[in-house]
């Protein structure tokens, strides 16, 4: 497969109330920023209530990507959608803590299934309010 960093757009899939995004490449800055606005547009367009971002193939998250993820979570929250980061590698999680980055407002789940459970639980709590 030929991965062209310049051209590649990250696909966003909608399943029921949720958007599912699977990050497959080591993102450069523009791609990260583009993904952020793409997801926010998609939330607006579809009225999605949750976003699952699979980062299981990411071998590192630096403060730039970290800031992008937490920025996205807070913007999504304003639009009434929750963001769950799925499948962060243990080595990435350890490194993020050592780097000193707390990502406020960002929930994490071990895998997609747990992430969906998390979002569904949130939605049902929300609906009974």
């Amino acid at each position: 497969m030929n991965i062209d960093l310049h051209e590649k757009k990250i696909p966003i899939i909608k399943i029921r109330d949720f958007l599912i995004v699977s990050i497959q490449v080591d993102m450069h800055d523009k791609l990260a920023i583009q993904l952020q606005s793409q997801i926010l547009e998609e939330i607006e367009k579809t009225g999605a209530k949750g976003v699952l971002i699979d980062i299981s193939v990411l071998e590192m998250v630096d403060s730039f990507i970290g800031r992008m993820l937490s920025g996205m979570a807070s913007m999504a929250a304003i639009m009434d959608a929750a963001v769950v980061i799925v499948g962060m590698q243990p080595s990435v999680a350890i490194t993020l803590v050592e780097l000193g980055l707390e990502m406020p407002g960002v929930d994490t789940a071990l895998n997609m299934e747990k992430g969906i459970e998390m979002l569904e639980e949130r939605l049902s709590n929300y609906n009974t309010l």
């Binding site: 960093l5 080591d26 993102m27 450069h28 800055d29 523009k30 071998e59 590192m60 998250v61 630096d62 403060s63 730039f64 970290g66 800031r67 590698q89 243990p90 080595s91 990435v92 350890i94 490194t95 050592e98 780097l99 000193g100 980055l101």
Partner: protein
């Protein structure tokens, strides 16, 4: 302050410019490759890759880019991967401030330098106003 020395008999693995954001991605992947070659574990690989990513981005953001020197050398009997970032940017006036958690002069999160220091086995920084900045990090197994 000790000057960062370039007079070492370390083996040079490469020297690369950081000009675009693609270079940040490419060269950090290269550093990971060398960490792997040095048989570092996955956590060590991730630490050094994340650390250099922060340093490369700083050069890109604050100094209009710079050069990266990747070397392998013997440090106190340990086989170390040594990455030196050299730029001719504006320099850092207050190093102590720049090294403190959460301080950013721009729109960053302010964890790049202090975080990098925590992620590596040795961290050296030298900066002069209007001359530039050199940051050297070392990682061993």
């Amino acid at each position: 302050m000790n000057e960062i020395s370039f007079d070492n008999n370390w083996e040079q693995l490469g020297k690369y410019p950081i000009v675009t954001e693609h270079d940040i991605v490419k060269i950090r992947q290269l550093v990971r490759h060398h960490a792997k070659e040095a048989r570092m574990g996955i956590v060590e690989q991730t630490r050094i890759t994340t650390a250099v990513s922060e340093l490369f981005r700083n050069m890109f953001n604050y100094a209009e880019g710079g050069d990266v020197l990747i070397e392998r050398g013997n440090i106190d009997g340990k086989n170390a991967l040594i990455v030196t970032c050299i730029d001719q940017g504006p320099g850092i006036e207050d190093l102590e401030l720049a090294m403190s958690d959460g301080y950013t002069s721009g729109m960053g999160m302010g964890y790049g330098l202090p975080g990098t220091k925590r992620l590596v086995d040795r961290f050296e920084i030298q900066s002069e106003k209007d001359k530039g900045t050199i940051v050297r990090v070392m990682k061993w197994r």
